[in-house]
Amino acid sequence: KDIMQFIESEQSKSKVQLSIHNFTDMCFKKCNANRPITSGGLDSNEEQCLTNCLNRFLDTNIKVVQALQGSSK
């Protein structure tokens, strides 16, 4: 049982990791679209853009799931 729990926990950890990579890739592109990279830091606007990007993406995801559950009833 312990080994199964360990595997499950590792799998879910690596699923979260993969999601973070995909979200970062997507939001880095969206928040830097149409402008050059001029500094290695993140100002407060950029940090806000990334956080908003992630949360609005997850909001969109929830809306889509709800719509598909609604239409399959």
């Binding site: 997507m26 939001c27 969206k30 853009c49 908003n52 990007c53 949360n55 609005r56 993406f57 909001d59 969109t60 995801n61 809306k63 889509v64 799931v65 719509a67 598909l68 239409s71 399959s72």
Partner: protein
């Protein structure tokens, strides 16, 4: 009917593709909440995507059947 069976089985992939496409299309400058315009856009977009999926399914199955018939 075939299309619907496939849809149910593959719902996760469908959710993920719709979310990606509609987020890309509707949310250009992400803000602190989905505004009314973005919310409306996502609703229209997800409907249009599902209808598009149906059209492509039918067209692809028709094409597969045509090319099987030609053999």
């Amino acid at each position: 009917q075939i299309a619907q069976e496939l849809a149910v089985a593959n719902a996760t992939e469908l959710v993920s593709k719709i979310t990606e496409n509609c987020f890309e299309k509707c949310i250009v400058n992400p803000s602190v909440a989905l505004n009314a315009q973005e919310d409306y856009c996502v609703n229209q977009c997800l409907e249009k995507y599902m209808r598009s999926w149906n059209v492509i399914s039918k067209a692809y199955i028709t094409r597969i059947q045509q090319s099987s018939a030609e053999k």
